[in-house]
Amino acid sequence: MQMPAPDQGVIARRAAIAARLAHAVPGAVIDDPMETRAYECDALSAYRCPPLAVVLPRTTEEVAAILRICHDERVPVVPRGAGTSLAGGSMPTADAVVVGLARMNAVLETDLADRFIRVQAGRTNLSVSGAVEGAGFFYAPDPSSQLACAIGGNIGMNSGGAHCLKYGVTTNNLLGVTVVLMDGSVVELGGPMGEAPGLDLLGVICGSEGQLGIVTEATLRILPKPVGARPVLVGFDASETAGACVAAIIRAGVLPVAIEFMDRPCIRATEEFAGAGYPDCEALLIIEVEGSPPEIDEQLALIRGIADGFAPVEFRESRSEDESRRIWLGRKSAFGAMGQINDYMCLDGTIPVSTLPQVLAGIARLSGEYGLDVANVFHAGDGNMHPLILYNANTPGDLERCEALGAEILKLCVQVGGCLTGEHGVGVEKRELMLTQFSQADLEAQMQVKDVFDPQWLLNAAKVFPLAVSAPRREGLRNAA
């Protein structure tokens, strides 16, 4: 993975820039190289680079002051939430100031009657739900990283979660933001129901990977908690059968809140790790439905009727809180389990659900060709796949082979009508693959949007677009400066 050469002029001025920042936001600047190391990577930890400096503001005004200085000094900026991006979205460059929102975690307003909560963007995802739980509400998007990841990062990546089949992803639950543009101007986007006059700028900010502005506050839709939820576990003797069962359930008009899929390698690994008591079978589905107990019974009866048509080797319906927990336990520890036995790379392509058997067969073939095992775990209801490629970081060449296999699998997703990333974002990881999904003109249209929000291309500029495609903008502007 390549990054553009840092601006040596900026690096040479490090002390002066840090001093200016420290003067504007006292007590918020870190520029000791020992300490900036803590910010050298995100969860794509194979790639690291300590930043020029880190600033940890407490208010929107401080963020504006920081950006005004960086704009003035032409210093690149990388916004950072909790640094759990799997795509390298918050990985710094050596000439960049990281603006970390960890200190901005306050709840600013809770309005149950109007069903929203307004928070500072550094607040963690789980603690947003936590703030309204007592009143019987929740914030729906629930990425597995929800204990750590921040709302600002969720907005940056338009993150999803296990329950988005019913509730949608971040963008569908975001009503408004306060965002600071690179020149330091502060704007509020969105409004009641997420609506503002004119173009849907809120919609473009969400998922823009920190390239258009820094989100400092967010207004989020909260929902009344359902009376209850219950999962079932269904095991099959072939992945294709599990895929066909998912299609049949959706086709029948039942809409569960979650349908999760795991294949045998994944089941085996999690069993050894978490001992959730999963059946030893080729593939399993975890299907969760919500409502009051009789409503749950009604939906599960329908699902059972459909699943029976596919000769499941196991149909396990939860009868208690504890059984529900055990059904989810294996799925929730899948990533941890993989990490225990191997290094792994987690992919994130989405495919039309109808192509599932074809794609699983393709992945198996590629896995054989590259000599690396792949375990599949994914959100089956919406076609968002997370193949985990297992490799050994200590074996020379293994990481490169793993990345090459990952690229082939993602290309396969695009070929069958899907996309490179369903929820993790492009970052640096999938940047160079963008031309397999988009034409030059498609990317030009996207880069025009960045031109409008950040004319100098200072915000997180080396991400999302293939380096060669963004080079004229990044370099032309630097040379013109």
Binding site: A113, D114, R115, N158, G160, N172, S185, V187, G191, P192, M193, G194, E195, A196, P197, G198, L199, D200, L201, G203, V204, G207, S208, P224, A247, I250, V254, L255, S292, P294, E295, L302, T350, P352, V353, S354, H379, G381, D382, N384, G417, C419, L420, T421, G422, H424, V426, K430, M434, Q437, S439, A441, D442, A445, Q446, Q448, V449, V452, F453, V464
Partner: protein, 346 residues
């Protein structure tokens, strides 16, 4: 001009020297004065429909009615609720982000829109999004195009989420004024009833819609009817705004602000989204005098678009710059107001 293919459309735009106004069914956006209408109804037809994947892809000029009939044949519907107007095309619905009552449950048109193809002001064909449910690959220009009213480009194809048609529907009605209705609708929306519509119509009062499997609808509507003192009916309703005379205004607010705004307005034509959307007719040329609130009001018919309060200057600049980027020659002339068709005023 009525192109039959995306390539023809692109060619027309590329070589045009006149200002163009894209028209779908002509039911929503009216062409600006003295500009050439660009009829996109020739770009029509469903190109892909996978019921088991809950996705449909159609050319922008496809009549809404045709699309809905195709989905109904498979027991499905669009995942959002377009407001129905005779002759609408799906491209027009998307360009207006026209979203009805179901928004409180599943979101607006923009939330159901998975992908777009469009031709920008230079005649360049651009694709964004795709046909899958979850997609964060690159910037979300899909949202930008939804509701862009033909200002950035002409839509040629849209991919949308579908949903199973709920087998059973119940409506709970509580008579009263629009102001009375706000509290009723808020009560319904803040409980675990999974409401799919929360509106108010003159003469009918507060209307709450509950949909789903038979047993579930029975349980939820019984519990909520008791709480609200509502009558349960099978009545079907929709909040299609029509102004008998004068200008039609669309007001967005927090539901808790609605009573204050209603006090300053004549009786509305309809209220929707639990009180977050008020449709009201005002005498032609009159601007409502409203107390400060957190939303905005826009005049959707009449001679020129008008929004109060005036948008923040930075936001206006971003809007203008985006328009200039996508349409540097200012070929697209849509002024963003709705045509007051005979159907609307009937």
């Amino acid at each position: 001009m009525r192109p039959e293919t995306e390539a023809e459309l692109a060619e027309i735009i590329r070589t045009s020297r006149a200002t163009l106004s894209p028209i779908g069914g002509g039911t929503r956006l009216r062409p600006g004065e003295g500009v050439a209408p660009l009829d996109v109804s020739g770009l029509s037809g469903i190109t892909l429909y996978e019921p088991a994947a809950l996705t449909v892809v159609a050319r922008a000029g496809t009549p809404l009615a045709e699309l809905q009939a195709a989905l109904a044949a498979e027991g499905q519907m669009l995942a959002f609720e377009p407001d129905e107007r005779e002759g609408s095309t799906i491209g027009g619905v998307v360009a207006a982000n026209a979203s009805g009552a179901r928004r409180v449950q599943v979101g607006a048109c923009r939330d159901a829109l998975l992908g777009v193809r469009f031709v920008d002001g230079q005649g360049e064909v651009i694709a964004n999004g795709g046909r899958v449910m979850k997609n964060v690959t690159g910037y979300d220009l899909v949202k930008l195009m939804a509701g862009s009213r033909g200002q950035l480009g002409v839509l040629t194809e849209v991919a949308l989420k579908t949903a199973p048609k709920p087998p059973v529907t119940a409506t709970l009605a509580v008579p009263g004024t629009a102001t009375d209705a706000v509290a009723v609708l808020t009560q319904a929306l803040t409980g675990p009833y999974d409401i799919s519509g929360a509106a108010w119509l003159p003469g009918q009062g507060a209307l709450v819609r509950i949909e789903g499997l038979e047993g579930s609808v029975a349980i939820r509507s019984k519990a909520l009817a008791e709480k609200l003192g509502a009558e349960v009916t099978q009545a079907d309703w929709a909040t299609v705004p029509r102004a008998a005379s004068g200008d039609l205004w669309r007001i967005i607010c927090r539901p808790s602000e609605a009573p204050r705004l209603l006090a300053a307005l004549p009786q509305p034509i309809a209220m929707d989204w639990g009180g977050a959307l008020i449709w009201v007719a005002l005498p032609a040329g009159e601007t409502p005098n409203l107390p400060a609130w957190s939303g905005h009001a826009s005049r959707v018919t009449g001679d020129a678009p008008l929004t109060i309060p005036a948008p923040n200057p930075v936001v206006s600049r971003l809007n203008a710059s985006l328009r200039e980027r996508f349409d540097p020659r200012a070929i697209f002339a849509s002024d963003g107001t709705c045509r007051q068709t005979s159907r609307l005023s009937s």
